[in-house]
């Protein structure tokens, strides 16, 4: 029935998730960090869709639908925060955003 085993998809999504997490950790550019978070969410989406097929349940697809809404909102808000920050200090480097500490 299924030509490609579900576990392949799940493994791919795990790889993508970890790459995304690596992006958040490695990069200092806020924009890239945001993109990486988006990639993580997308990786999860792939898991959901694959499971949805495997389990013959629509819940996974619905969840993905919601995740997309969340992703859109997060990007909008995140970029808005970035713009506000940029207005006060012209930077997209998170290391410049470290006045609060101790």
């Amino acid at each position: 029935m299924t030509a490609v085993p579900t576990s392949w998809f799940l493994l791919l999504s795990a790889i993508l998730f970890v790459i995304g997490a690596g992006g958040v950790l490695l990069r200092r550019n806020v924009l890239i960090m945001l993109m990486s978070v988006e990639m993580m969410m997308n990786a999860v989406n792939l898991t959901f869709i694959a499971l949805s097929r495997h389990l013959s349940s629509l819940t996974g697809q619905i969840f993905v639908f919601m995740v997309m809404a969340v992703a859109a909102v997060e990007v909008a808000v995140g970029l808005a925060i970035l713009i506000e920050l940029n207005r006060l200090r012209a930077t997209t480097d998170v290391d410049d955003v470290s006045s609060l500490k101790g």
Binding site: A21, V24, L25, R28, V94, D95, S98, K101, G102
Partner: protein, 660 residues
């Protein structure tokens, strides 16, 4: 019956506290000075009537529980905001409010130089102290007792640090008083002392809290009656742990080894506060708690032995330190620790009534001594070093005579109150183990010595600091009258507990008997020693001799042969052979006894006290703060670092679940 309204004893000082706290500053010191002591006096009256009510009841019914409201009731757990009025708690109420009242009155005079604002605040805090202590002693469950226990700690913190601005700034070691700059005495940083008291108390409270917690989980209730009723069915190991934990609290609150370090510093507060802490409140809480929990302690012989040993060792240890102190209040502070040691010795050997007796007499004479010392300080502009005093008995006769009476009582001079209570404890200790008795007796000797050493140096002889001497004056009546009243109590307080062999009833033991009736034979035992009359007379006599010997030694060292060099050295140079002989004795004595003794005392005072115990506590606190600062440095402010730490956290959590 007024005993049903025993809560009034708390309510009056509480009302005074609120009144002075909220309005005192505006209404002026006249009103404050009436409201503060007045409300405490009312509380005393309530206690008095409650006591009469108790007497009217049959002995077995002399325990009234007054439930104000049901504080908490969750499932099977219930704790009432309820008070217990029985002979034990009423005795404490009378001591706390009675002595507290006199201290309040005295404070009117003592604090007269303070600003209005501070004056009002001082009385507010004093009342808060009384209220907290009353909550502690009137509680009918461990929870409410814990409330009082914690509140007392906070109060001591506020009051010891009352003159917080002294020594606040190292560049400005003076404070303003009467418009003049007065130097801050050395090692007296009130804010630090307050902090020290609080920290050390926290250590003790921590043990107490755990003990209460363990009671709760073991018994499912915190009510005294229920706990004590169920106690015999509990495994003795558990009871031992509970009592040990509670005793940790008592050690902190009552300044026993090794948690006594806060008390000598506590004199950084105004002297009435020292009197209150040392005599009527705070430090007696530990003794009271053990006495209150006697049903548990009676089931835990191991703990009782620990209590007795800690008590007697502390008594001796503190007495040796007191030998070399040159600060009048510090001598008294160490003597308090030492006397508290006696009380713990008493409750440790199961003589609860004797412990309470000594607690009561000690409240009288120690309050007296502190207030008299305060009177001296008041006269000398806060000078407290006995080496700068001398000859004060001419200038301040009332203070002098009352101080003498207090000193006699403390030293255990025959027929004073301290004599009877101390002798009773020693007799009980002898019954338990002659070793404890011997240690107690040695302490008594030292007590007589150091007490009269301070007395002779401060009040006898000639003035050492003429300027101070000229400035000295007797304190106003509002301060000396409390002294005189307390002197009366210190002198005659012994009639509360005359020994059986004198053919009179032991009034206090009889009074307390219902509270301790559950102990087998305790009631009778408090009155009758298990000793033969001859032995008892012997012990009594020995106690008298020891007390006199201590006083005599002090006289010999500091009056007959004043050890203060300068002028004496000159005088003795041209004297007879006999005196040279005396020198020889002195040298020998110095060599054999005084020097090692002094060295030991110095070692205790400086080596153990300052270095080890202070070091451990300060070092511990510093280590913790350092740890905090170190953790703060981890907080770099960089998102990348935070994200990485979170990521590692995720890995650890996932790995834990994956590999479990």
């Amino acid at each position: 019956m007024i005993i049903q309204s025993i809560w009034l004893a708390i309510a009056f000082p509480l009302a005074g506290l609120l009144f002075n706290g909220l309005l005192g500053r505006r209404l002026g010191r006249g009103v404050v000075g009436i409201v503060g002591p007045g409300t405490v006096a009312l509380a005393f009256v309530v206690g008095l009537f409650a006591g009469l009510d108790l007497l009217a009841l049959p002995a077995q019914d002399r325990a009234i529980v007054v439930t104000l409201w049901n504080w908490i009731s969750v499932g099977s757990f219930r704790a009432g905001m309820s008070l217990l009025a029985d002979p034990l708690s009423v005795l404490m109420v009378l001591v706390v409010t009675g002595v507290g009242f006199l201290i309040h009155v005295y404070s009117i005079g003592y604090m007269e130089h303070e600003e209005d604002r501070l004056y009002a605040r001082f009385f507010t805090f004093l009342n808060l102290f009384i209220v907290s202590m009353l909550i502690l002693v009137l509680a009918d469950n461990y929870l409410l007792m814990y409330v009082g226990w914690e509140l007392v700690g906070v109060c001591s913190y506020l009051l010891i640090g009352f003159w917080f601005r002294r020594g606040d700034d190292p560049q400005d070691p003076v404070r303003l008083k009467d418009g003049e700059l007065v130097p801050v005495p050395a090692n007296l940083n009130p804010a630090d002392s307050g902090k020290k008291a609080f920290i050390v108390n926290r250590v003790g409270d921590f043990g107490f809290a755990l003990g209460v917690f363990l009671i709760w989980t073991t018994f499912g209730t915190l009510n005294f009656a229920d706990v004590f009723g169920a106690a015999p069915e509990i495994a003795s190991g558990t009871v031992t742990v509970i009592t040990l934990l509670l005793f940790v609290g008592a050690v902190g609150k009552s300044a026993q080894l090794p948690l006594y370090v806060w008390l000598p510093d506590a004199m950084a507060g105004p002297t009435p506060v020292s009197a209150l802490i040392h005599a009527a409140t705070m430090v007696t809480a530990g003794v009271y708690m053990v006495a209150r929990s006697h049903a548990l302690y009676a089931l835990a012989p191991t703990t009782s032995l620990v209590v007795a040993l800690v008590g007697v060792i502390t008594a001796l240890y503190a007495a040796t330190i007191a030998l070399v102190q040159t600060d009048l209040k510090r001598v008294l502070a160490y003597s308090t620790i030492s006397q508290l040691g006696y009380m713990f010795l008493a409750v440790g050997v199961g003589a609860y009534a004797s412990g309470m007796f000594h607690l009561t007499t000690h409240a009288f004479f120690k309050a007296l001594l502190f207030l008299a010392a305060g009177s001296v300080m008041h006269a000398l502009g806060d000078v407290i070093d006995i080496r700068r005093m001398g000859g004060l008995r001419q200038k301040m006769p009332r203070t002098y005579w009352t101080f003498v009476i207090g000193a006699l009582a403390l030293a255990g001079f025959p027929l004073t109150s301290g004599f009877f209570s101390k002798d009773e404890i020693l007799a009980k200790a002898f019954e338990f183990s002659p070793i404890l008795w011997a240690l107690g007796l040695l302490t008594a000797l030292l007590t007589g010595f150091y007490t009269f050493r301070a007395l002779f140096v401060a009040f006898w002889g000639s003035a050492r600091d003429q300027e101070l001497f000229d400035h000295a004056h007797e304190s106003p009546g509002v301060m000396t009258w409390p002294l005189i009243l307390l002197a009366g109590l210190a002198l005659f307080g012994g009639i509360l507990g005359l020994p059986q062999i004198l053919g009179v009833d032991h009034a206090l033991a009889g009074w307390l008997h219902p509270a301790f009736a559950d102990l087998e034979g305790e009631g009778a035992e408090a009155i009758h020693h298990g000793l033969s009359a001859g032995l008892e007379w012997g012990l009594l006599g020995l106690s008298s001799v020891i007390a006199l010997l201590g006083i005599g030694l002090a006289y010999w060292f500091y009056v007959a042969n004043p050890g203060w060099p300068a002028d004496l050295a000159v005088r003795f140079k041209s004297v007879f052979k006999l005196l040279v002989n005396k020198y020889y004795v002195d040298d020998l004595y110095d060599l054999l006894f005084v020097d090692p003794g002094k060295a030991l005392a110095r070692f205790c005072a400086q080596g153990i006290d300052n270095a080890a115990i202070d070091g451990i506590i300060d070092g511990g606190a510093r280590l913790i703060v350092q740890g905090g600062a170190w953790l703060g440095r981890l907080q770099t402010g960089f998102i990348r670092h935070y994200a990485l730490a979170m990521f590692l956290g995720v890995i650890v959590v996932v790995a834990y679940f994956f590999l479990r």
